[in-house]
């Protein structure tokens, strides 16, 4: 999967691309301004664009318009510090697929990219297989060794989040925010994350699944899979 990250803040861009590249299937290019981004867009085909709105030589929204005018099937995720509704609406109106407010958890961005790619690419085939786990992101059905297991909505979200960020340390705060959404001030009560992990782990093990979920003491969790 080829991704173009358009972000003017060098340090931040570097960290994001480093994080994304940890996933062996992702190839991430970085552009720091509109000019370079347009150039790269001309040269290569990307599956997904991650675009910052405020760029030194113009608005990222311009780039999105260009991409979409080329009838590209690529997904577009806007990242912007400006959380005003205008930006969000105009971004989504010109064809962006998702919107992420800066600052965000890299694991959240990763999960968004994966679910977007799944939505765009695997039309019809939405099954996602990892060892004995198989997830149908369309019907939200989870099977362990071909046996369907019954998960609640938040347990499903949690599993999907862990899987898309597999082999990465995922902080409990990022899990909390992923589960309850941007508005909830979940930092004060992270117990529910533990509760949900416990329930999910129990259901997976009961279905005969290997216990992939490792606790990273004091920090969060890691879905460890070879």
């Amino acid at each position: 999967m080829k991704i173009l990250l358009v972000e003017d803040e060098l340090e931040l861009a570097q960290s994001i691309s480093d994080y994304l590249k940890k996933n062996e299937k992702i190839n991430c290019d970085v552009a720091h301004d509109l000019y370079k981004a347009s150039e790269l867009t001309e040269l290569y085909d990307y599956d997904c664009f991650i675009v910052d709105v405020g760029l030194p030589d113009g608005s990222g929204l311009e780039l999105i318009k260009t991409i979409k005018s080329k009838d590209s099937k690529a997904g577009v995720i806007i990242i912007s510090a400006r959380d005003s509704i205008d930006d969000r609406i105009s971004g989504l109106n010109i064809g962006a697929d998702d919107y992420l407010i800066k600052p965000f958890h890299f694991s959240e961005l990763n999960a968004r990219i994966h679910s977007l790619m799944r939505r765009l690419k695997f039309e019809g085939n939405t099954i996602f297989q990892l060892n004995e786990i198989s997830i149908d992101s369309q019907s939200r059905e989870v099977k362990i060794k071909n046996e369907a297991i019954d998960l609640t909505k938040s347990e499903y979200d949690l599993l999907f989040y862990l899987l898309t960020n597999k082999n990465q340390v995922i902080s409990k705060t990022s899990i909390a925010e992923h589960l309850v959404g941007e508005f909830v001030d979940a930092l004060g009560s992270l117990d529910f994350v533990y509760l949900h992990i416990k329930n999910l782990r129990k259901k997976l093990i009961q279905a005969g699944c290997t216990d992939y979920i490792k606790t990273v003491y004091g920090v969060g969790y890691k879905f460890y899979i070879e």
């Binding site: 803040e9 931040l12 600052p103 890299f106 309850v180 909830v184 001030d185 930092l187 004060g188 920090v219």
Partner: protein
């Protein structure tokens, strides 16, 4: 006390005192003057009587010279110099005692010595004094009423500019960019006051604006470095070589920077609300929005062992969707942060009024400060103390009232959406 009442009261008190003493003095002075006048009359009558006796000694035989003059023969050795005295005589006609002024003197004629007493009734002069006093009291009263009316009249005329300035300054919103304008006055002092006020308000307004801009700019500029710190910390977490202890340290950095960026976002949000940057509003069903958020909060309520009871009526309101989301979630966050475990959180939406209640200890600070920036009830390190201020700002933005009450160890927040509902 109002300025008018205060000045009127003062003027009336002072004039009552002045007139009271004036009247008393007037009473005694006129009484003294009348006495003097009567005394001169008595003396002239004395000469008159003496003159008449000199002419006609036979008059001595009459003991009563007239009603007012009585003559008594005495031993030739007794000499009486003319003496004034006050006496009371019984009037057989009116059957009352009447105050009199008397002049007693002796007169030695060729043949005999006698003491002559001349009386003059004071009745008419006392009556006169009484009348004068009464009429002067009446005059004083009329005068005081006149002063009262005059004071009002002068007051309204002289102070009108002052009051219009006061009104202007009371209605002026420091937060607005509008310049304040005072009416010109004929009175120099008021013009001076206005110019001083104008300067002050201008100063406060520019200070306020620059402070606000500073907050906004700082918050905005801090966002990027914060995001970088967060990113680096998050990357560091992925490092294979960290010990458990190092991981915790890094996580702590990550968490702290997250808190800082939340704080920052809240400050930016407040600035945006104050700058009216949330103009577009939509018709929304409040019930649906609340239910959507309750859904998100459900697992937090469960984890906190809260018992959530909600009773929601369908209510359509016109509001900016982002602000509504923030309003509802901030109140829910507040209930979640300060509610007592295993206790009820109650949410009601009835007749356009939204109430959220949670159990908890009484506030440790005056409840007027509840909506103030950075006032925190508990030492919850994760709360940034801006949530309720934002709620208040949103309510103020739409001029919808928010009420807080503490009844039976329950904190209740009620927002009346009536003004923006259908």
């Amino acid at each position: 006390m109002r300025l008018l009442s205060k000045t009127t009261l003062l003027i009336i008190t002072v004039s009552i005192f002045i007139f009271m003493f004036g009247n008393i003095a007037f009473f005694y002075i006129s009484k003294g003057m009348i006495k003097k006048h009567i005394d001169t009359e008595l003396v002239s009558q004395m000469h008159n009587v003496i003159g008449q006796i000199k002419k006609d000694e036979a008059l001595f035989n009459i003991t009563k010279f007239s009603d007012e003059v009585s003559i008594k023969a005495v031993h030739p050795d007794i000499a009486q110099p003319p003496t004034f005295s006050d006496t009371v005589l019984f009037s057989t006609i009116q059957n009352i005692y009447i105050p009199h002024r008397a002049l007693k003197f002796s007169y030695q004629s060729k043949s005999r010595n006698q003491i002559i007493t001349i009386h003059k009734s004071l009745l008419s002069s006392d009556k006169l004094i009484e009348r004068i006093t009464i009429s002067s009291i009446v005059m004083v009263m009329v005068f005081i009423i006149m002063i009262y009316i005059m004071n009002r009249f002068i007051f309204v005329n002289v102070w009108s500019n002052f009051f219009s300035s006061l009104e202007t300054i009371a209605n002026h919103d420091i937060k607005s960019h509008e310049k304040i304008f005072f009416e010109n006055s004929e009175i120099e002092e008021f013009n001076k006051l206005n110019s001083v006020l104008l300067k002050m308000v201008d100063r406060i307004q520019t200070d306020y604006q620059s402070l606000k801009e500073l907050t906004a700019n700082t918050s905005h500029e801090i966002q990027t470095p914060l995001a970088i710190i967060r990113g680096k910390a998050e990357m560091l977490l992925q490092s294979e070589n960290l010990s458990e202890n190092d991981m915790e340290q890094v996580f702590s950095i990550l968490n702290t920077s997250e808190r800082l960026s939340k704080l920052n976002q809240s400050l930016l949000l407040i600035t945006k609300i104050e700058n009216n940057q949330f103009e577009d509003s939509q018709e929304l069903n409040l019930k649906n929005v609340i239910e959507k958020h309750l859904n998100n909060f459900e697992m937090l309520f469960e984890a906190g062992e809260f018992k959530l009871t909600s009773q929601l009526d369908s209510t359509k309101i016109h509001i900016n969707p982002v602000l509504l989301d923030i309003l509802i979630t901030n109140l829910l966050n507040n209930a979640l942060a300060h509610g007592q475990k295993t206790k009820n959180i109650t949410i009601k939406l009835k007749n356009s009024a939204f109430t959220i209640s949670n159990n908890g200890k009484a506030l440790e600070f005056p409840h007027e400060q509840l909506f103030t920036r950075f006032i925190k009830g508990n030492k919850n390190k994760n709360s940034n103390g801006l949530g309720l201020e934002i709620v208040k700002k949103i309510c103020a933005y739409y001029s919808i009232p928010i009420l807080y009450s503490y009844v039976k160890s329950q904190h209740n927040f009620t927002i009346d959406f009536n003004q923006i509902s259908n």
